[in-house]
Every structure is written in structure tokens, then in C-alpha cells.
Amino acid sequence: MTKTQSAEPLVAPDVLERVLAAGRSTGAEFSEVYVEDKRSTSAGLDDGKVEQVTSGRDRGAGIRVVSGETTGFAHTSDLSERGLLAAAQAAAMAAKQGGGGVNKVQLGDVLRHSVNTVKVAPDGVEKSRKVELLKRVDAAARAVNASIVQVSAGYGDSRRRILVANSNGVLSADEQVRTLLRVSVVATGDGGMQTGYDSLGHTIGFEMFDENDVEELAIRAAKQAVTKLSARPAPSGAMPVVIKRGSGGVLFHEACGHGLEADLVGKSASVYRGKMGELVASSLVTLVDDGTMTAEWGAIGIDDEGHPSQRNTLIQDGVLTDYMWDYLRARKEGRAQSGNGRRQSYQHLPMVRMTNTFVLNGKEDPDEIVRNTKQGVYVAKLGGGQVDTASGDFVFGMTEAYLIENGEITEPLREGNLIGNGPEVLKDIDLLGNDFAMGNPGTCGKDGQGVPVGDGQPTLRVRSLTIGGTAA
């Protein structure tokens, strides 16, 4: 972590000080200015054509004012002092009706905490090179097999500069770069159409494409679709499920990640409430949320409340050791924040969110895990998921899966959801591999806001999960 004078802050510190003071003009104890300037480029290819290149600019500030249990919030796309003061006054009025005193705020130097290194800033790269990637993906996917009938690919990059200042004296800045490539493939056969999908995303610049082969990405997606052409209906009922490394982090994201967010715990809307220090998972499981994990999709220098990102162990050897915290929930409990206060944009209020959430390595040989499973399902790729944190019931989709018969991976299965209950599934993890890998870049949705997150795990087995197939 380094402390430096800001070369060119998005808003001058003396303006921030006056805006923060205006935020407390009705007597509120806390005010905060969040300034964001984001530039993005995206390009889409579909049906063999580069359909459109899009340039975007989103710039503005959100002002938060807290008075007791009440938060007032206003945002503006006008970053002039006049615009910011107007928003601060609106937020102050929203937080409290009535008069208050003048509260001076003094800000020091800008804290810059950077966890990512960008070698080639994507906004400096010719758009033609970005479009070229899409054409390579299209060609590589179509070359896999004559059954590939459609390919769509998307490229996206963004550079998001943020500045956070609050009346407690916090003044932090970060520059967050993200680069993404995704591909969807349709294959057709006698039994209809099937789809394949893969993606690549990191908090680094255009050098991502020197370090990763985009053709390989396309081929993986294409093969997934082709394989599924001969898939049989997935089974129904509960059985052992082996989840391939780097594909099942979403299981933990849903099975316990959301339930460990302090805002949900605080309202007793989590099945993990009041379980601190208790055994909540198999003793094989150590779960970490780590915003500092360089280059991973959920990596951030500071969170959206200006707090430096950090590595937090949530479950240690099966025992619940901590929840995730933002400013408000930490303040209420009189404890430190954990770097998990995040928001989609300056137009949104921050809340407790995950960053990169993953399970550490176990000891098993991943091949042995399959060999030790007589009958079950092997999931090679998971889709999204959804959880009810209060009951703990969650679902997640399997987009590439196979039968396990007599310890061997056999026939491909059609798509479906799996369903389980968080605490039960965590306790049912009976084999954990030694082959940890991070998974695909994800977007986590909560209360209408989407934020980039990462997840990961080694190959593992759940003793019993319900497969939502159609076969008896």
C-alpha cells in the first residue's frame, strides 16, 4: 500500500471538503462523496459479422449521508462544485429533515491501494485489434465441426477511475481496468440444437491476449455444444456429484457466500446467523474472500467505500470465522470493515458484496475422486445460480455434465439445474482435490445491482445433491 499525492484527482480535495460539509449540514454524522469516471469499449460479432462497436462514457458522483439508522442518497452527472453541492444538499435533506451545524472535514493525501498491474491499457489499443479477436474466435469455433451453425462473440474493456472521500477523513482512489472476451456457440444435430459458452476476463489490460489463446477459448465452447448433441436427459433425484476444478465456485457463492454477507445476517435473513465459531461445513472446507487476488475478476484496489481490499477467511476447516462487512454494518457492530462495500456505479448505494470467493486446496488426487465414485454426475461447467439466504435453498445450472458410472466419466448429459440446501451441502463435501483453479468471470446480482466477482475451487465431491433432470 502506498500513500501518494494525487496527480489529477477527479474532484479537487478542497471541493470535496466543502461537499462533505454540505452533506452534514442537517446534522448528520457521516457524509461521503463517491466519484466515478468510466470509459468502456465493446464490440459484438454475431452470424459472422461484426455488428457494432460501442464506446461508452459514464461519469458522475453519488453522495451518501447517514444520520442514525437513516441513509440519504443522491447522485448527479454534474461534477462541478455547484452540481456536487446540490446533490449533497439533496442527500442531507433525505437523511434528515431539520437543521444542523457546520461540520468541517479535513482530508489528507489520497490513499492509493493497487492490487492489479495493467501493462497495456485497453483504451490505448486500436479498435481494429479488438475486432480482430472476435473474427479469430468466430473462425476457430466454426472450424471445430460442421455441426456448428452459429457463433456470437463479444469483447469488452473498461477503465473505471474512482475517488472516495468521507467525513471520517477517508480519501482513496483507484483505477480499475477490466478486459473480457466471451463466446456462445450453437450446434445442430438430429436431436435439435445445443449450445456452448466460454469466457475469459481479468482485471488486466490487453496483455490478457498475449497470455491466453483465444482460439482455445472458442474451441472449448464449440466442443461443449457438439458434445451435448449426443447428450442424454439428465437423471433426477439425489446422488453424488463431482465438480471439476474452477467450474464450481458458484456453488460456494450461492451455498454460503451470500449468507455470510453482514447486511443479510444483520436482519436475520441468513441461515448462517448466530453460527459464528460453529462447524458449518465439512472440516475439509476453508473458504476465503479475497479482493487482493491479482488479475482475478473480483480484484479491487479499494472497495467502493474507499477501504483497501483485503483477504478474509470466512470458514476455516469447516468452522465459521467471519462474515463480510461494509461500513454501515461494521459501524453498527463496532468492528472493522473488511473491504466488501461495493456498488455497481455512482448511481447506487454500496452494500456488502463478495469479491473473489474460493475454497482452498484439499489433498485428494482429482482422478481418484472420480474413480472413488461408483454412480453419480460429473459437472465440468456450471452456469449461474440463485439462493434464498434465509432458508439456505439454492440452485445452480450445469451447462456441461457427464454421468459417472463405475468410477468413470461416461455419457454427456443435457442441461439442468441442481438444487440443494447450503448448510447441508457444505457438510456433505466428502472429497476435496489438490488441483485448485479459479473459474470464469462472473457478475453477481443483488438488490438490482451487478458487480464483477470471481470464484474458484479444486475438484470436489458432494455426497448428495439433487439433479434436476427429466430421466427417472
Partner: protein, 450 residues
């Protein structure tokens, strides 16, 4: 649109006037605001008051398309967006069908989207309503706790102008309340929600929202995981609405053109049971997503998509229509200034049956009333048709409702489910979603549990 917004229209016009020779330009400008009130345990948790604006510019030249947007209407930013969109043209592939919509002479059906009473509704009343909703919810059942009670309203003004002669602008506002609940029984907790929508707060039915939120949370207490078997399911109106919405993707003319519709080559064939008739009708003012124009500025219209089970048509924007050698059906969609138009159904409506939900249930020997589903985004593939979602509901035995069940999935394929529709309710519910709700009975669905 019926009520114009002159200054935004002028702004859009001023962009379009800068078209150079051979360029087609579309300018989409909008601004809006929102109020969001959240109450928890009788206290105001947050109050959000916010305004935003932006511009999206699409330029087409020699069959290539470029696009750019910015979240501001400052003149210098608009000039930058225009330049960026122009710069982006060169990277597109020539597409012979690329182009903007052209006025097609179809008349708009005027509707009312602006409510003066809502526009001037006092802030303290909004907070009062939110507190009242929480209070009513807690009073509905002693086992119920509050997670949050919300009031939301928003207003928006948009204008679109094109070099092809489209000039449309309008404004609208809307509001709703919602409440999220928890019900406890020992260690077990279940969740529920309720909501009410109106042109203005005076139309809210707070009692009904509170009752639903309490019922949804409590009715699953003590629920168990069922055994796996084939069953007949009754989808609650709220679930049917989600089921019908996903059909939009298969009826999308652009997906058809690009080989992604499971209805390809099925025009005029029986794709659903004869009892099933599906209409897209944004001109019906009862629909939550009713509109007078589509995302390209063409008049919205009533389209019969599936009639007595027979596939009658796909929906089109001007682009997909040109590709398929037909005319736009007024079905361009638009998510705001940050993107160009897409294609989709706008307000889907299913022709109701003749029975109440209770009558439908009475006719089933062995089934499940599905009250909620989870993972529609992760377990349903609209291209292959594979359908699998998490579910919770109540067992139906010999025509009567029994014990609650949870943590199971229901699975089939979209193709089979449409053909296996056995009956429809008359209980039309105009939910705040893209498709109407009613009770829908589907046979031969695999329930997967223990």
C-alpha cells in the same frame, strides 16, 4: 407519442441534422429520476432521490454500424459521442440489411403514461405509505418478520429522431410498493414478498400486498423435500408469467434469422395445445409494459403469435424484418440510451380459460401447485428447449391441497410443456412483468427431489 417533450426532441434533431452524405443517424436521448424509500422495523433505512440523463447515437454508413453513448446531455459530451459513433463505423462488417426504421404509416393508439398526482406526490406521504405497508404485513401473521418495506417511483422522458423521418418523444411515470418478509419456525426461516403497482400511490392495495407477503413466507414453513416422480403441475399466475416470458426468445425474429429459435420451420404448425393462444399486445392499457411506440419509434401493435396452439408469426424489428423479407411488427426493444435496439415481445398475454385456480386444482388427482421457481436464468435453455428450475409449492392429492414441499426441481422441455398444457385459469393477473399471469396446468413434468 401523445405527449411530446419539445426540448429533448430538439436535442435529438440537432444530432441528426449533423448527418454527412451517405450517413443514417439515430439519436436517442433521455432523462429521468427516481425516488426510493426503504423502511425497516419502523425506521427509514434509506431515502434515494436521484436524476440521470444520457444520449445514445447510432450511425450507419455503407452497411456498417457504429454506436456510442454517454451518461450526460452536456453539449461537449454529445459532440464527443457523435464523433465516437462515427469513428466506430469503420470496424463493423458490411451488412446489407443494416439500417434504421422508416415510418410505416401504422397509427399509434394513444395511451396515458403520465400521472400528475404521482408527479406532485409529497415525500413524507411516500415514507408514510412504506411504514404503513410494513405495519400491515407484521399484523397479518404473528410468525412474520420484516426484511424491508419499499416504495419506488420513477419518471422518464425520451426522444428519438432519425434521418429516415422518425420523430417521437414522450414521458411517463410509475410507482410501486413492495415488502420482503421472513417467517420463523424454530431454526427454520422462509421468505416471502408482496407488491402493489399503480398509476399513483392512491391505487395501491397495501392490504393485499401485506397479505401475500405474509402468506408466501408462512405457507412454506415445515415444508419437506418430495420424492422424485412425474407429476401434473399447476403454475401460480406469478410463475406462469415467468414461463411465458421466456417464450419471447423463441418468437424473436432475429433469433429466427440467425438460427437460434426452437420454432424455426414451425410456422403454421401445432407447437402448443389447442387451448393455448398467445398474443403480444402493448396497446392493451392493462398490461404493465404497455407502450404506444417500440424501441425504434414505430407504433406498437397487437400481434397474435400462437393461435389455438398454431404458430402464426414471429416478432420483428426493422432489421430482422429486412433480413426475413417482411415488415417490422413494431417489436424493437430498447434498454435505454446505452444500447441500440433489439427484438422481443413487449406485452405478452395468454387467452384465459374458464376455471378458477381452485377448480383447476379440484380436477387433479396427483400434482403440485408451483408457487415459486428459482434459477430460470441458469436451468432453462431457450435454444435447445431444456427446462429445469428449482421450485417450491404445495402437494395436490385427489383434488385437494396438502403439505408444502421445497428443495426440488421441475424439468421437461419447452417444446413438450407447450404441448402438454392441459388447462388454463380465468384468473388473469396483470403483474408488473412482461407477461400476464394466470394459472396454467401442465402434465407430465418430472419432479426431482430425494
Amino acid at each position: 407519442m401523445t405527449v411530446g417533450v419539445p426540448d429533448l426532441q430538439k436535442l435529438a434533431d440537432s444530432v441528426v441534422e449533423q448527418a454527412k452524405s451517405g450517413e443514417q443517424i439515430e439519436a436517442y436521448v433521455s432523462r429521468g429520476g427516481e425516488t426510493s424509500v426503504r423502511v425497516y422495523e419502523g425506521e427509514l433505512e434509506h431515502f434515494v432521490s436521484a436524476q440521470s440523463e444520457g444520449v445514445g447515437i447510432r450511425i450507419i454508413k455503407d452497411g456498417r454500424t457504429g454506436f456510442a453513448y454517454a451518461g450526460t446531455l452536456e453539449p461537449s459530451a454529445i459532440a464527443e459521442v457523435l464523433a465516437e459513433a462515427r469513428d466506430n463505423i469503420q470496424f463493423g462488417t458490411v451488412d446489407q440489411w443494416a439500417g434504421l426504421a422508416e415510418p410505416d404509416g401504422v397509427q399509434q393508439i394513444p395511451q396515458k403514461f403520465w400521472d400528475e398526482e404521482l408527479a406532485s406526490y409529497p415525500t413524507d406521504k411516500k415514507i408514510e405509505i412504506t411504514k404503513e405497508l410494513e405495519k400491515l404485513t407484521l399484523a397479518a401473521d404473528s410468525r412474520v418478520r420484516s426484511e424491508q418495506s419499499n416504495y419506488e417511483d420513477g419518471w422518464g422522458e425520451t426522444a428519438v429522431s432519425t434521418t429516415t423521418g422518425i420523430r417521437e418523444s414522450g414521458r411517463g411515470n410509475s410507482c410501486y410498493v413492495s415488502v420482503a418478509t421472513l417467517a420463523d419456525d424454530g431454526d427454520e426461516a422462509q421468505t416471502g414478498f408482496g407488491f402493489s403497482v399503480g398509476d399513483s400511490p392512491k391505487e395501491f392495495d397495501l392490504q393485499k400486498a401485506a397479505r401475500e407477503a405474509a402468506d408466501r413466507a408462512t405457507r412454506l414453513l415445515g415444508a419437506t423435500k418430495p420424492a422424485s416422480k412425474k407429476v401434473t403441475i399447476v403454475l401460480d399466475p406469478y410463475v406462469t408469467s415467468q414461463f411465458v416470458s421466456i417464450l419471447s426468445s423463441a418468437l424473436n425474429g432475429e433469433n429466427l434469422a440467425k438460427g437460434r429459435s426452437l420454432f424455426a420451420d414451425r410456422l403454421n404448425e401445432q407447437v402448443a395445445d389447442a387451448r393455448f393462444t398467445l398474443v403480444d399486445d402493448p396497446t392493451n392499457k392493462l398490461a404493465y409494459t404497455a407502450t404506444d411506440i417500440d424501441g425504434e419509434g414505430l407504433a406498437a401493435r397487437r400481434n397474435v403469435l400462437i393461435e389455438n396452439g398454431v404458430l402464426k408469426m414471429f416478432v420483428h424489428s426493422s432489421y430482422s424484418a429486412r433480413r426475413m423479407n417482411t415488415k417490422s411488427t413494431g417489436n424493437a426493444t430498447r434498454g435505454g440510451f446505452a444500447g441500440g435496439p433489439g427484438v422481443g415481445c413487449l406485452a405478452m398475454q395468454v387467452q384465459p380459460g374458464t376455471k378458477t385456480q381452485a377448480e383447476l386444482i379440484a380436477s387433479i388427482d396427483d400434482g403440485v401447485l408451483i408457487q415459486d421457481v428459482a434459477g430460470m436464468h441458469s436451468g432453462v435453455n431457450t435454444i435447445s428447449g431444456d427446462f429445469s428450475t428449482g421450485a417450491s409449492g404445495i402437494v395436490i392429492t385427489n383434488g385437494t391441497l396438502g403439505a408444502p414441499i421445497r428443495e426440488f426441481t421441475i424439468a421437461s422441455t419447452l417444446q413438450k410443456m407447450l404441448l402438454n398444457i392441459v388447462d388454463l385459469g380465468k384468473d388473469i393477473d396483470w403483474l408488473p412483468m412482461r407477461a400476464v399471469g394466470l394459472s396454467l396446468v401442465i402434465s407430465d413434468v418430472m419432479m426431482s427431489g430425494s
